[in-house]
Symmetry: C2
Subunit: 235 residues, 2 copies
DNA sequence: ATTTTTATATACCCATCGGTCGTTTTATGC
DNA sequence: GCATAAAACGACCGATGGGTATATAAAAAT
């Protein structure tokens, strides 16, 4: 378990913090067994507060930037003190890291689900673009952090993120490759094609506003159309 | 002159700094007249060092983030001390602000030049996209700062940037509108179309690497094609 | 040569902020 | 109720970093 915690935070833990870390695992995905009912209750409660803190921290980080936000700010945004935040997280870095992990898992899940359906490339890609664009809009704050704050991670953490990102891109590149081989997609270096397509979607984190005139689904539709047929094309 | 300096830095100036500020105007665009030869020489020399500092600061900011870079770092990157940096700039904020101003002027210039030619919408838009994409690739660092560090500016500075940005987008939106009215561009809300198109280009600041396999011009070409005709379209 | 400007360096101040510690309050189990 | 664990608090520490004050070196002007 300490191993898991270590992988997550990428830092050595003190006695106190390693004890506190038990909670993360339950909030995570593995080893829910062999916990006493009591410990389990505690873990659930802690996981709840942790999510609350993460959500609030993400909002602040997205708005002002990681460095500009103090632990006091995070606490105060929930009417907690700094100590409370440190009770649930070992460091500021860990908060950021948890945010990074959450966001990538969401993206990955969406795409692998679509790929698993085994659709023809054109349909698969259209769905992927829609889904990706929607994800960006629905989780603007987290996405902003993901793209802006990478330099705040440790070397190891950056490597792990890069690995995951490569996996994600690769999945989409395979779809593009298949479509190109089938003669339905424009011939071009897949890396550039996919980076370009995702780029338009990712950019939504900059300009999409929730209280805008159009609903997210419709915007995602426009993007998908534009990417598929171009601004000159009819479709 | 003090007025100009004030507008630039958005901060009240001390006696010493207002004196130093003379140099900025010469490095800027207005009122080169009525300077003694001596003052002019000084100004030119200072402008040179300022540009050097700005370039180095921009590199560091892009790499590590504005807050993570200290004035010492900026100085040390040029083998100066902190004092030298403070001799040429009144504050860290002013360095950032100068970077913001430089980058926008570059972008604006490129597009207004194209628009001035009075080309038909399809050709104009294709050129604008190419130019914009190229600008992003050629000034990756500056662009990264522009999109990441806006929250570090003061309220007034942000407003001014927003104003300039709106002007830029509007120029392109007009081109799109014209193309749509002429029936050659896809029917869709112009704001979404232009944000989408620029989005793909802007994203280049994330993934374009100078030592990559393809030259910037070629990548810009791929993007322009992809946007014009889509991944399904032939062109 | 000496005086004034220009340019660079050193030392320092002080507010901020991440993180720790010891204590106190609140819940939980018996 | 009371003992124990969980949760929260408030005070503090040490380092960092923006910014300043002051001294000094180098260049120019006289």
């Amino acid at each position: 378990m300490s191993a898991t915690a270590k992988r997550y935070s990428g830092q050595k833990l003190t006695r106190r913090s390693s004890q506190r870390h038990k909670a993360y695992e339950v909030s995570g995905q593995e080893s829910p067994l062999k916990l006493s009912p009591r410990a389990e209750l505690k873990a659930r409660k802690q996981a709840y507060v942790q999510e609350e803190i993460l959500a609030s921290a993400a909002r602040l980080f997205a708005e002002r930037g990681y460095r500009a936000v103090t632990i006091d700010d995070i606490g105060a945004s929930l009417e907690y003190t700094k100590s409370v935040v440190y009770y649930y997280f070992t460091s500021k870095n860990e908060i950021l890291w948890q945010i990074f992990q959450r966001i990538y898992d969401t993206y990955l899940e969406g795409v692998s689900e679509i790929r698993a359906r085994g659709l023809p490339p054109a349909e698969a890609l259209a769905l992927i673009i829609r889904k990706h664009a929607l994800n960006v809009m629905e989780r603007r704050d987290w996405t902003a952090i993901y793209f802006r704050e990478e330099s705040e991670l440790t070397e190891q953490q950056r490597r792990e993120i890069a690995r995951k990102k490569r996996g994600y891109d690769l999945m989409i590149e395979e779809v593009y490759e298949a479509g190109m081989n089938a003669g339905v997609f424009r011939q071009m270096p897949v890396h550039i094609a996919v980076s370009g397509l995702l780029g338009m979607c990712n950019w939504l984190y900059i300009w999409y506003k929730e209280q805008g005139a159009l609903p997210a689904e419709q915007i995602a539709g426009y993007c998908a159309d534009l990417l598929a047929n171009g601004y000159l094309g009819q479709g």
